[in-house]
Every structure is written in C-alpha cells, then in structure tokens.
C-alpha cells in the first residue's frame, strides 16, 4: 500500500513489445495510467518518426469530427453524452472510422453546398420580387402620360430642350433597377451624381424585412433602387458604378402587363424553391441527428488512437525490426498490475510472444508520484503549488491536512461564519457526483468545487475555534452559565458608569473557569480586546513554535531516510537546540506565568508582579538586567531563572557556529584524508613496482583538485546561507505567527462592526413596522456577511495560512526540487482535450 508520507518508489524499466502487440499493449497501459514513457529518439523530429502517417490520419479524422460538431452546434442539436468510455479501437477499425467520417463529411458538404446555392437563388428571387413591387410604386406615381417614362423626361430635361426635340418624338429614357445594401446608399447616390453630372435620376425604397446573406448567414438590410438616364454612354457609366458598389441589377420590363406577368412567375418559383429548401434542411437535420448520437464516442476513440500512436513514436526499433523498445518510469508497487495489463494486451492482439518488462539501474532522479484520492488531492495540490517534492522526500501533505484548516480557523474563528462555510462545502461534498458530471467552465465555481474538502475542514475547524472564542456573528453563547456575577447594589449601579468585577472575590467570580472557551461575560466587558489580545498573541506564538518544531523534526526523518548522519549531527541537533532553548523556553514561560500568578495570591505572586514575557525574552537575549516593579522582589518567575536563561542563551548562540562551520569543515577534512590516502597508496605501489618496466604512472589530476576546492567553497557559502536563513528565520518566523492573532482580531472586530452598523439598525424601531424593516435589514446584513466576512476575510485568512505553511513550516525541511510523475493516461488526455475544446 502506498502511503502519503513519501512519494512512491519508482523504477526505470525497459519494455520490449512485439510490433504486432505494441498497439494493444500501449492501449491497455493508457487505460491503466500508471506508466510514464520516456522519449527515446529526442533528436528525431516529429516528421521522421515511424507512425507519422497514422498520426496524420488521426488529425484528419479529428478535423472532420470538429467540422461535424460545428455543424451540429449550429443547428442546436443536443449531443448525446452517455459518459461511457469506449476502448481504443483496433488499428484495422481505423479504416472503417475514416470511411464513415469521409462519407458523413462529403454528404454534409454537398448538402451545405446545395443549400447555399438554393439560398442564393432564393435571395435573388426575393430581391426581384421586391424590385417588381417597389418599382410598381415608382411607376404608378407617374400620373398621366402615354409613356411611363415621359413624365420623367419632363423632370429631367428642361422645357426648351423638349420643345426642340418635340418633332423627334418622345425621348427614349432607359432605366436600370437593382438592389443594394442600405448603408451604401448615400455614397452610391453621391457617386452617381458626380459621375453623371446630375444627369441621372435615382429613386430608392427600403426593403422592410431583412434578407439572409447565403454565404455568411447574416441578416442584412437592403434597398431597392431604380435609375433613369438617357443614352448609352450614361447607361454604361451607371452600370459600372452599380458594379462598383456591388449592387445587383435585375431586368425589369417596361410594360406594366409584362411586369405583372413576371411577378406572378417569380412568386410561383419562390414557392417551389421553398419546398425544395425545406427538404434540403430536413435531410441535413437527419444526417446531423444521426451523427450527434455517436460524435462523443468517436471523439474519444480518435483521441485514444492518436495518443497511442504518439506514444509509439517515442519508442525505439530494435535491429531486427521485430520489436519495439520503450523506456518508462513505473511505480514499483504497480509492476504486477502493469504486467497483467501487458499480458491482456498481448492476448487481445493474438500475439504469442509475451512482452518483457525489464528493470534498469539508473542514476537519474526518478519522478515524484504521490498517490492521492479525492480527499487528499486538494491538499497535495496546495503543497505542489510551492514545489514538487524531491524524490522520496517527506511529503508535507498529511500534516497539512490537519494544520492547514486549524491555522485557518484560528484566524477565522466564528461559529456562524464557520457554519456557513461548512454547510456550503457539505452541499458540494454530498452532491459531488451530480455536480462533477455537470461540467461547467465557470472558473470560480471550479476552484470552490475542487477545494471542497479543504473548505469543509476549514468550516468545521472554524466552528470549533468560534466556540472557543465564543463568537457567533460577534455575539456570545451562554451555554453553561457565566461564572461571573454582579453584586453591586442599586445606588452604585445608578451612579457609576463603569464598574469592575474582582476575580479574587468568590462572590464575583466562581474561582473556576467557564467549561469550554471564553466566558460569555467578556462580550459585554469594556476591556474585552485587551484581554483577548493577550490571550490570542500567546496562543499564536505557542502554536507557531510548535508548528516550526514539527517542521524541524520532520527534517530528522528526511536525514534518517537518506542516511545523512552528518546532517543530523551538524544541522538537525543544533537547529533543535537553538529553537527549543530560545523560543520553546519562551512558550514555557507563558505557561509558568499563567499557572503561578493568580488574583488571590499575595505579593510577589500577585498578578501585578507578573512580568511581560516579551520584555523578559528580550532582556534574556541581551543579557540585560531589569528593575523589579514596586512591591515585587524580583523580575523572575522562579528561582534560578537568571542563571538558567544565561545558560540557555549561551548554548543557543554556541549552536550558530556549529551550524555554520561543522559540516563543511568535516567534509573538507574527510576529503583531505582521502587525498592523503590516495597519494600514499600511489607512492607505495610506485615504490613496489619501481622495477616494473614501462609502467605508466598516472599523473596527479590538477583539474580534480581545483574542482574539489570549488566545491568546498560552494559548500561554505551554501551552509552560510542556510544557517543565516535558519537563525534569522527563527526570529522572523516566530513573529510571523503573530498574524494568527492579528487576523483573528481583525475578523472579530469586523464582524462586530457589521453587526452594530447594520443589524442593530434593524432592531431600533418602536412599532411593528420594525418587523418589516428588520426583514429588509437582515437581508442586507446577510449579503454583507457572506460577501465581506466569509468570502473576503476567508480568502485573506486562506492566503495567510498558505504562507504560514509554505514559508514558516516547509522551509524547515522541504526542498521541493523534484519533478512530477506524468503517466500516459487516456483519462488525463481526454480531460485536457475536453477543456481545450471548451476554450
């Protein structure tokens, strides 16, 4: 059974596959998803590999499928997603698939082509219909006159010219009619005017209904126009301009009877076309519906085939061309399963020779593989976001699972807010399967969904800390009855604004604390914040020092696992001593202070004499003497504290040079010893073999010596950085844990402000109207609570927790220099393909 404490043990294996069986075997391995193949021909480019043609065929199939999918989406036909996962088809099935897709694509293209031609035809006819209808209006407007164009002539040509030409009979005016995009009309009109010097006459009318452009499918607005002119020169000019503006011209007979006839003909043709168009659409729909049933399945199949050939391209051919050689990383524990899958693959392909899985020795660092489940994977992701663990290094995840929600909750302690968070996460967890099936591309939702177990634990832990802080939406719960009582009489209360309760009086205080958490009386106390600050600051430092100590102790397991005895002695032990003697001692002082000073005690053990922990600690490190307070004999809490402190600081400071120098000096001496031995050994053999003629004496290697010196220098620098980081880090990291207190204070204050500024305002009206008002105010308050306190404060507490883990905790033991195990798995490939399609 693999464990989360360290990454899996990996082995580099060589895999010999019969060429016939290779496809089936790789397909089985892809279903399994436990093998990471290495590229054995990295210097061969993608076009020179063995299975290029197959990959190309798959690409072609994918392209056809995407075309089909696009058409299906255009028609808004639902695609059947059964969620089933078909196995990768045999290579010979590929031809069938190809044929099917080819046929479908051709059919669809033909249908589309026909539909487009029909639509173009339809458009032309509709435009003609509109022209006939509109021009009818133009012509009808001309009153009187034998010839329809006669009145135009009058309008266009001045009277005297008519008089001149009166003998020549009526002037023959030509006209063209056509359709143009509406937005082009103004430019068109201007152009006509300028080019023909105002000698043409343009009438236009808008077509009310938008027309569909057959090539793009857009709806466009068009206008009908008719241009009258005289003479052939103008005619050709007008035609050219029309062409330039992409207006379509239609023949329009002059005689009204002909026009009427034509209109009738156009109408019948439009009706015919409509039926044909309807049939074409039906056919297209049938083809697409049939394709929609299978398209998801086909996609999966093609993606799998392509993935298999891509993988086969990574393999080497042996000399006989009979088998393929692969190199792969596998988890040691899964070798059995992999063998089984390989055997299944061989059987399926009907090959008789079993594949050979051969373990190889390597000096390369294996990839890091942490086996996770749906609960641990979210936490593992938090750790991996900082850096993938080095191979077989201690994995911080199991500790993070508890400490992460806990530290979060210390900052987010509120029963109400925790409950909201918990309920939301519980909903996500309980409805996990239906929600996971409903894939959405809403990024925020996906973040919440994948972190649902973290949120669940954070909510749960926040409820606990909320109970301890006795905070529910900034109010307190009096579950067990407060242990404080007021004994002031009526006149005292009436005359004094602030009154104190004396903890040393047994009438005021029961002399034993409230059973769980904070006494609810503090909610009404004026010095609540003063009290809470002292309490929460101490709690933060205690938690922080324990957290860091935990981190340092984990490094011991790393050293022991890697058999690094030197680091245990020269790094681990001084580090622990430094941390314990200085900072854990401070934690102990807090407990001593809590225990030994009580309100009933007389001087010098009265609370008035209790020294500040911080001042004591600073004086301890600086070896400074402090003056005792009045009535107190001493600044120390117990006998011998001064001597003990001096001793602790002295030892702790002594650890610094050990951390700094011990390891490099030891290694340097070791190397020198080796060198001496080597030289001595040489000398003896040389002496012994002095007579041996022709013996080549190996020259000493100056290069190697220089390299060693470099290495030693590097070692010193590295160790120096490491030590400085640790020593300064202990101080700054301890202070950094104070953010637990600061964020918790901020959260409590913010929720109190929200209550008093919003919710209280809903409770001050003096009549039943207050109920309605409260209804409104509560809604407002609820939205602000979720938006500001739960979401924003939650996010900020989350980020601070993340920092505490990445910097303060993991810096003590975690290297994070590994690289992740990325197995060849159909599941992963299909998921990435699905997201790529959605984008």
């Amino acid at each position: 059974m693999g464990s989360l404490f360290r990454s899996e043990e990996m082995a580099l294996c060589q895999l010999f596959l019969q060429s016939e069986a290779a496809y089936a075997c790789v397909s089985e391995l892809g279903e399994l998803g436990l093998v990471q193949f290495r590229d054995l021909n990295p210097d061969v480019n993608a076009f020179q590999r063995k299975f290029v043609s197959e990959v190309r065929r798959c690409d072609e199939m994918e392209r056809k499928l995407r075309y089909l999918e696009k058409e299906i989406k255009k028609d808004e036909i639902p695609m059947l997603d059964t969620g089933e996962n078909p196995e990768a088809p045999q290579p010979r099935e590929m031809i069938d698939l190809e044929a099917t897709f080819e046929k479908l694509e051709n059919e669809l293209r033909e249908v589309n082509h026909n539909a487009e031609a029909l639509k173009r035809n339809f458009l032309e006819l509709t435009e003609l219909k509109h022209i006939l209808r509109k021009t009818q209006v133009f012509f009808d407007e001309q009153e009187g006159g034998l010839h329809p164009t006669e009145s135009m002539t009058r309008a266009l040509i001045s009277d005297d010219s008519i008089a001149r030409q009166v003998n020549a009979g009526p002037v023959q005016l030509g006209f063209v009619a056509g359709v143009i995009l509406r937005e082009r009309i103004p430019a068109f009109e201007r152009m006509l005017w300028r080019a023909c010097r105002g000698n043409v006459f343009l009438r236009q009318a808008e077509i009310e209904t938008p027309l569909e452009d057959p090539s793009t499918g857009d709806q466009v607005h068009k206008s009908v126009f008719i241009i009258f002119f005289q003479g052939d020169q103008l005619k050709s000019r007008v035609r050219k301009i029309c062409e330039g503006f992409r207006a379509t011209l239609y023949p329009c007979p002059e005689a009204p009877s002909q026009r009427r006839e034509m209109a009738m003909g156009v109408m019948t043709r439009i009706e015919d076309l409509n039926t044909v168009l309807g049939q074409t659409q039906d056919h297209r729909h049938r083809v697409l519906v049939a394709a929609a049933k299978n398209i998801k399945n086909w996609f999966i199949k093609v993606v799998k085939i392509k993935a298999i050939y891509h993988t086969l391209n990574l393999f080497n051919l042996d000399v006989t061309q009979k088998c393929l050689i692969a190199e792969c990383w596998v988890p040691l524990l899964d070798i059995e399963t992999i063998q089984l899958a390989l055997r299944r693959g061989t059987e399926r392909s009907g090959s008789s020779v079993p594949p050979i899985l051969n373990r190889m020795d390597t000096f390369e660092d294996p990839p890091t593989y942490n086996r996770t489940n749906k609960f641990t994977s979210a936490f593992q992701n938090l750790v991996d976001a900082y850096g993938i663990a080095s191979y077989r290094e201690i994995n911080p995840t199991p500790y993070t699972i508890i400490s992460f929600p806990f530290l979060f909750a210390v900052m987010f302690g509120d029963l109400g807010h925790g409950l909201l968070m918990f309920l939301f996460a519980a909903f996500l967890v309980l409805r996990e399967k239906p929600l996971a099936a409903k894939k959405t591309d809403n990024e925020v939702w996906n973040i919440f969904f994948s972190g649902r177990y973290i949120i669940l634990l954070m909510g749960l832990f926040s409820m606990y800390t909320g109970l301890i802080y006795n905070d529910i939406f900034s109010k307190s719960l009096n579950l067990f009855g407060s242990h404080w009582h007021t004994n002031y009489n009526e006149s005292t209360i009436l005359t004094n604004k602030n009154l104190q309760l004396n903890p040393s009086e047994s009438l005021d205080y029961d002399q034993n604390p409230y059973p769980v958490g904070l006494d609810p009386v503090w909610q009404l106390a004026l010095n609540k914040i003063v009290f809470l600050n002292a309490y929460k600051m101490k709690i933060s430092i205690i938690i922080g020092v324990l957290h860091m100590l935990g981190g340092v102790s984990l490094s011991l397991y790393n050293y022991r696992y890697f058999k690094d005895r030197l680091s245990i002695i020269c790094d681990f032990i001084p580090q622990v001593i430094f941390l314990v003697f200085l900072f854990f001692y401070m934690v102990l002082l807090m407990f001593i202070k809590w225990v030994s000073y009580a309100p009933q005690n007389d001087f010098p053990k009265s609370p008035a004499c209790a020294p500040s922990i911080l001042i004591t600690f600073i004086n301890m490190v600086l070896f400074k003497k402090a003056d005792p307070l009045k009535n107190c004999d001493t600044v120390y809490m117990f006998a011998g504290q001064r001597v003990l402190q001096k001793f602790l600081v002295f030892i702790a400071l002594l650890c610094v040079p050990i951390m700094l120098l011990a390891k490099p000096i030891y290694i340097m001496r070791q190397q020198k010893d080796k060198h001496v031995q080597l030289v001595n050994g040489h000398a003896t053999t040389e002496n012994g073999d002095a007579e041996g003629a022709g013996r080549v004496v190996q020259p000493p290697q100056p290069h190697a010596g220089g390299h060693d010196e470099n290495e030693i220098g590097e070692l010193f620098i590295h160790q120096g950085i490491h030590t400085i980081e640790y020593v300064l880090g202990s101080v700054s990291h301890t202070a950094s844990y104070l953010r637990l207190w600061a964020l918790s204070l901020a959260h409590a204050q913010l929720s109190e402000v929200l209550w008093s500024m919003v919710m209280s305002k809903g409770l001050i009206l003096d009549s039943w109207i207050g109920g309605v008002w409260l209804w409104f105010v509560f809604g407002f308050w609820a939205i602000l609570t979720v938006g500001i306190l739960v979401l924003m404060e939650g996010l900020s507490a989350f980020l601070h927790t993340l920092r505490l883990h990445w910097v303060e905790f993991q810096s003590k033991f975690y290297k994070g220099l590994g690289y992740a195990f990325t197995p060849f798995s159909f599941e992963v490939i299909l998921n990435t393909a699905a997201t790529a399609v959605e984008e």
Binding site: K475, S476, L477, N478, E490, I493, L494, P520, Q523, L524, S756, M759, S760, G762, L763, I764, L765, D766, S767, W768, G770, G771, V772, L774, W775, F778, G779, A782, I783
Partner: protein, 97 residues
C-alpha cells in the same frame, strides 16, 4: 408567471432559510431576555431614575424586539415561498428546453 432569474431566486431561497432560522432564534432569545442582545435594544437616551423603571422599559423593548424578529421571520417564510415558486418556474423552463 416569472419575474426573477434562476440566480436571484436561489439567492432568495438561501437568505430566506437563513433568515427564518436566525430570526426565530433571535426572537426566542429576546423573549427570554438574553443579556447578550441588550446592546441592540433601543433604550433611548432618557435617564431612568430607578431600577424598577429600567426593568419595565427593558421588558417592553425585549418583547417588542422579539415580536419584530418573529414578524420578520414570517415575512421570510413568505419570501421563501415566492422565491421557491420562482425557482421552480425557472427550473421547469430550463427542463423543457
């Protein structure tokens, strides 16, 4: 008849449920004269001269606030019904699509 979108109606349902639970509880706590909620009573600025007067005043305000909380809770029941109905309508519409 539909006048809220799916998100607004869902939001209404959640706030209504929360409101009903919290307001009923707050009403109950006002009813039993919880000291923790005394800060939110509108006791006014006028000086009370003796304890009895103070108690009667506080008593009156406590019951008033208790009833107001319950009135608001009832209004939230109404809100719940309305947004539930809207949610149902929205869902039915999306189902039929």
């Amino acid at each position: 008849m539909k006048f809220c979108g799916p998100k607004l109606s869902l939001c209404g349902i959640i706030i209504s449920i929360w409101g009903i639970i919290q307001l009923v509880a707050m009403g109950f706590f006002y009813y039993i004269r919880s000291v923790a909620l005394i800060e939110d009573l509108n006791l006014g600025e006028e000086l009370v001269t003796n304890v009895k007067e103070f108690y009667t005043l506080a008593d009156k305000k406590y019951s008033l606030n208790a009833y107001n909380c319950w009135i608001a809770a009832c209004l939230y029941i109404f809100t719940l019904v309305v947004s539930g109905h809207q949610f149902y309508m929205n869902n039915r519409n999306t189902m039929s699509l």
